[in-house]
Structures are given as C-alpha cells and as structure tokens.
C-alpha cells in the first residue's frame, strides 16, 4: 500500500476509470489545461486527450445539463464543479433533470453521471465560497450523495460512483486534499456505496461524523479515551443511501450519540440521523442525541470568527461529555 494524498487518490480513481471505460469523460472549469483548480485532474489532459478531458466555459447550469443529456444516451460524464458553491447555479439540472429522469420516464432513461468537486468549509474565503450543502442534494430521491474522509475511501468510493448507473453527488472536502493515507495499489479496489465505516471502535459513546469532521472526531476520541470515555467513531461515507443499520447497531451498544457535522444544524443531515435514531433506538438511548454543527450563520472571513463557526475538537469532546453526563 502506498501513502498518498486525498488529491492523488482521487486523481488515480479518475485515471483508472477513464482508462477502463471510454464512455467516461471529464468536464468542468479548468480541469484540462490548468489541471484543476485543486490539481485533482493533474496529467489527465496529457494522458487522455481533449476529447475526454474538457475545459468548459464558466457556465455551470449549461455544462451540468449537457452532462445529463449526454448520460441519457449512454455516456458516463464526470462533471467537476470547481467548488460545490458553484453547483448552486446548476441545481435545476441536477434536481429537476438528473434526479428525476429515470422516474418520470417510467424507467427508460438512467443517468449515470458523477457531479464532483470540493465542498464544505475552506480557509478564509468568506460566505459564498465556504459552506456545506450536502443536505440539499441528500433531500432528493434519485440522487446518491457521497462524502469521503480518507484517501482510500476517496479513491474506492469515486470508482464506485463512476461505475454506478445513477447520478452521484461526490463532495470532496476542500481542506482535506493534502491529507495523506494508505491506499491499496490493487486496480480493482473499490469501496461500495451505502456502507458506513467504523473508523474507531468504542463502547461508551458513538460519534457519527462525515468528511472533515471524521479526523476531528478521531482526535476528540483520543482525548476522551484519556478521560476514561471510550468512543466509537462512525463515518457513513455515503449520505444517501444512509447506512443506518451500522449507526443503530453502535447506538444499541453505547447508548449515547453525538452527530458531528460542519454544515448548518437546521434541516441538516445531522437532524435526519438524530431523528432516525430516535425512531429506531429510542429505548436504547441513555441521553438525548446531541448535534455538533457549524454556527448557524453565513461563514465569516476573519480568522478568529471562522474558527468559531466551524466545529472543532473541543466542541465534540464537550458534547460527548454532555451525553455521558460527565
């Protein structure tokens, strides 16, 4: 196993899947000549040519819709959003076309497309460039939503997403591209969609965390271990469909849950997870489910304010202590 960055792992997945299937093509802003605003598409233009790796104008609704149309007739587009902030312009095509085409055509037109790019909080880029919007996409039946937290998961899940016959929203974390981890060398290595991963086993409390909050939760778990609280950290990896069984199984063991997320709390994925736990495992709970979320404000620019807006290790430690009545 080689140790690579998240960026390199994603790059490997793109290259391998494009070599595997010539119907897969990649398009987006600056993906070709510039090699990606975050260098995820490095060397792909040189290796695969400009038929397969296509720089688009800044026209998100247009190229997202173009991708969906191409998918209707057998191609398998990977559409990169330079960041998911810009996907907001393309939501009509993602939601009204990609998510619903199979259903409203009575099963005739599947849409095998991946919309990918960085999302979540970034470093000091203020309100419009730093936000987590996965709950928007996860809301819609017809879409699948994936958020990896390690290089290995990123590679394995992206390969699965590209091979999947449904539209997949694949949200990478802008702050995590440089994170390193072991990635299997096997070209057939994939991580199936819809399967949560227990990132750390524990017995006293469960922390459900995704994307950027996974390493933060693991750090919190280390601190809590020293304080005598054994935490289990579960990363759903796929937000829709959500592997609730793994979460519920853990809750039945620990009886206490914290859901950590860097998105806004209101109508968020954490609210959904808390609700499901309440419905399915109420009798196992020794304390109310506790959420740790981003501050319910647009992201500020000033470093000190930004640090306050994004949840950190301390908040997760405090939340676990709260549900453990410590």
């Amino acid at each position: 196993m080689a140790v690579v960055t998240m960026r390199e792992a994603l790059n490997q997945a793109l290259r391998e899947e494009m070599l595997r299937d010539e119907n897969v093509f990649l398009m987006g802003e600056e993906v070709a000549a510039y090699e990606g605003a975050y260098k995820v598409t490095k060397d792909l233009l040189a290796e695969l040519g400009d038929k397969r790796v296509i720089d688009t104008p800044i026209t998100e609704l247009g190229f997202a819709g173009l991708g969906v149309g191409a998918a209707m007739v057998g191609l398998r587009p990977i559409v990169e959003f330079m960041t998911f902030n810009f996907s907001i312009l393309a939501t009509d095509q993602i939601i009204n076309s990609a998510a619903k085409m199979l259903y409203m055509s009575g099963g005739q037109f599947k849409i095998p497309i991946v919309f990918r790019g960085p999302g979540g909080s970034a470093f000091q880029v203020s309100s419009q460039h730093s936000q987590a919007i996965e709950s928007w996409f996860a809301y819609f039946p017809g879409l699948k939503v994936v958020m990896p937290s390690t290089p290995a998961d990123a590679k394995g899940l992206l390969k699965s997403a590209i091979r999947d016959d449904d539209p997949v929203i694949f949200i990478e974390q802008e702050r995590m591209y440089g994170n390193k981890g072991e990635v299997p060398d096997d070209i057939d290595f994939i991580v199936p969609l819809g399967v949560a991963d227990v990132k750390r086993e524990g017995k006293d409390a469960t922390i459900v965390a995704r994307s950027l909050m996974v390493p933060v939760a693991l750090k919190a778990a280390e601190i809590l271990e020293k304080q005598g609280v054994s935490c289990e950290v579960i990363d759903p990896r796929t937000i829709r469909p959500l592997d609730l069984d793994t979460i519920i199984e853990s809750v039945k063991k620990t009886n206490r849950v914290v859901v950590a997320e860097e998105s806004h709390p209101f109508c968020g994925v954490g609210a959904e997870i808390a609700s499901e736990i309440t419905e399915r495992a109420f009798d196992y709970l020794d304390a109310p489910v506790k959420r740790v979320s981003a501050a319910d404000v647009p992201m500020p620019y000033a470093k000190n304010l930004e640090d306050l807006a994004v949840p950190g290790v301390e908040q997760i430690v405090a939340a676990v202590r709260e549900v453990a009545y410590l």
Partner: protein, 384 residues
C-alpha cells in the same frame, strides 16, 4: 465584428408583412398584436403561402405530402380529444395543447431520421406522435395509466420513448436546451451522424439555459438544431412585454450560429428550413437556431383565463390555420381530392377512437410502481 453565418438559409431582415412573398417568412406579426386585419392583407398573406407551397409541392413526393397532412390532422384531433378528456376529468394536472402550432412539429420532425433525437418542452404531445410514438401510448400517459409511454409516472409534460429516441417532455422552461446540447455532444463524441432537434417556446429564450447552450454548441460544434416555437406568448405575457429585443433569430449572432426565420404556419417552409439545418448538423457538426413564428389558438394550459388577448386577435391567426392553408394548397394542386380528404379525416377519427379506447382500458399503475424507477442501481445500505 466576427463573421456571422447569416448567409445560410433565408431570413427576413425586418419582420413585417411586406416580406410575405419571401419563401421562408410570411405573415409576420406586429409586436403589438393588432386587434384586426383588413381582409385584403390577410388574403395576400395566405396567397403568398399557397404560392410558396405550390413551388415546394412540386419537389416533394405525394406520399410525404399526404403523410404531413395526415399527421397534422392527427395531432389536431388528438389535442381536441385531450381537451375534451381534460374537461371531463379523465386527464389531470396541467395539459398544454398544441392547436395552431402543428406545422412546426410535423414539418421539422419530417426532416429527420428515425434514429435522430428529439427533446421538447411540456407542450409535446404532437412532437411525441410525430417522432413515431403511438397515439395510444401518449393518450394513456395523459390518462395516468400503466400503458402510457412513461408508465403513468410522467403525465402530459413528460412523454418519453427510448425506442424512437424521443427524449422527453421537460417541465422547467428551457430545461431541455442544455440536455439536448448534451445529446448532440454524445453523437459527436461517439462519432455518429445523428442530429438532435430541440424544441422550446420563445419565453425560454430569456432563460440562461438557452444562452449557455448556444454558446457551448457553437464552441464545440455540436449537431443540435434549436427550434424556437415563437407562439408569441409566454403563458399570458406577450413577447413585447417580456423581451427587450424581439428578433429571436438574431440572437444567434451573439454565438456565431447560423439562423433562419421561418413561417411556422407553413409546414413545408418548416420542413425545408429544418432540412437545411439537418444537413449542416449531419455533415459538419454545426448547430442552427430556427425561429419559427407560430400562434397558439388555445390557452397556455387548460386553466388559461384568456384575458390577455382578444378574441379578434385569435380569430385573425385562425385565418392562417396551418392545416387549412396546407389543405388548400394540396387541393389546388390536385394532390388530394375531396374524397381523399374525407378518407383521411375518417382514418384520423378511427386512430383517435382507438387511442381513447386504449387509454380507457389500460390499467392504473400498480401501487408498487410508486417505488420503482427511483434508482437504476438501488442500493440496500449496510454491509451485505
């Protein structure tokens, strides 16, 4: 200024009735949609269409002409029956009728091959039938029945049939324009010579999707033919009240795309303009914008109050009914006799009766259909 492919095809520089003798631009309306028109001008307009059709008639084989007439009549009667079924509660939701615009879908789709693609807005019953879908499957879809082309899940606005490359009715104004651009992109990517027709109303031209798509289509040389059916009203808002510059074909200039202005009441003019565009698309992977001026005789949908235009205005356009105009040409040129016209009417009546019978008898979708077709690869979450 960059070169503009305006020399391609014909286009009136200044939309006006004075251009009535031009082959591809007759009977253009004023922006303000006048209340009435003097009979002499109207007569001249219609004579001009007949004159233009006469020269075209001679170049087209009889079977094609008869088929065009048959199809126009079929979709007219289909829509009349749809209105009736809607009024009696058999059809629900929105129902956007095509009456008055038949020459556009029938003329344009007659210019393409079976393996070419068509995408439309939500006013697409006629296009679906023209592309080769059975009136039965379209009517059953309107009825929300299992035998409908989309298994009763799409309804009036979402007709689909993969077998004939009819890629939908789409309900968001302009939403189908990027999709069609993508279908054309795929044809080029796969190096086929299939072309894509993309139909939309003039109101969609104000959407970003239109402009984004035309830009990409010419940038990447995609074989997509954008057919703007300018029926002069976006729901109840007239073009004059919604568009600062109302010469739609001229908007192609901004993207260096070939454009034509076409009389949408003349089925042969639409067919010819589309044939020219198809040739460009098939041979050179080039897009075209056609502005086809037409008029919707019915309301925007079945729930239209109709208070935004006058009866006189509608009647004036009905004088230029595309089916009546074509029938007159066919009769004058001796293509069809009175008896043959009656035979076609009888055949169409029979087809519509069969469509209704099929829709009536088709079962409702099974309750379990509610949960099918959400995902092509449904995933049961968790370790298997």
């Amino acid at each position: 200024m960059a070169k503009v492919n305006y020399e391609v095809g014909k286009r009136t520089p200044e939309p006006s009735r004075a251009g009535a003798e031009d082959k591809s631009a007759t009977g253009v309306l004023d922006q303000e949609a006048p209340e009435a028109i003097d009979p002499e001008t109207l007569h001249q307009e219609n004579e001009a269409v007949k004159k233009a059709q006469k020269s075209r008639l001679e170049e087209i084989d009889r079977d094609t002409l008869v088929s065009l007439y048959h199809q126009m009549l079929l979709v007219r009667r289909f829509e009349e029956k749809s209105a009736e079924a809607y009024s009696s509660g058999k059809i629900g939701g929105f129902c956007h009728l095509y009456i008055g615009q038949e020459a556009v879908a029938i003329g344009a789709i007659s210019a393409i091959r079976k393996d070419d693609y068509v995408l439309c807005s939500y006013r697409e019953h006629a296009h679906a039938i023209a592309k080769g879908m059975s009136p039965e499957s379209v009517m059953a879809e309107l009825y929300g029945k299992a035998g409908g082309c989309s298994k009763g899940k799409g309804g009036s606005m979402h007709m689909f049939d993969k077998e004939v490359n009819f890629l939908g009715g789409h309900g968001i104004v302009g939403g189908q324009i990027p999709l069609a651009t993508g279908v054309a992109f795929a044809s080029k990517y796969k190096e086929t010579d299939q072309v894509t027709l993309c139909f939309f109303g003039e109101a969609a031209v104000n959407q970003g999707a239109f402009h984004e798509s035309l830009n990409m289509a010419q940038l990447w040389k995609l074989p997509c033919i954008y057919i703007c059916e300018n029926n002069q009203y976006g729901m109840g808002t007239s073009l004059a009240r919604a568009m600062s510059s109302q010469d739609i074909s001229q908007k192609a200039c901004a993207y260096d795309i070939a454009a034509e202005f076409v009389d949408g009441m003349d089925v042969l003019a639409v067919r010819e303009a589309t044939l020219r565009a198809v040739e460009r698309a098939r041979k050179e992977y080039l897009p075209t914008l056609l502005e086809v001026r037409t008029y919707r005789f019915m309301g925007h949908s079945m729930s239209d109050p109709g208070n935004y235009r006058t009866r006189a205005e509608i009647e004036r356009h009905q004088e230029r009914d595309p089916i009546k105009l074509f029938a007159a040409s066919l009769k004058e040129q001796g293509v069809l006799s009175d008896t043959e016209f009656q035979q076609i009417e009888a055949e169409v009546k029979e087809q519509i009766e069969q469509a209704v019978l099929f829709a009536e008898q088709s079962p409702l979708p099974a309750p379990e259909e509610l949960f099918t077709d959400v995902y092509a690869n449904p995933i049961k979450p968790g370790k298997q």
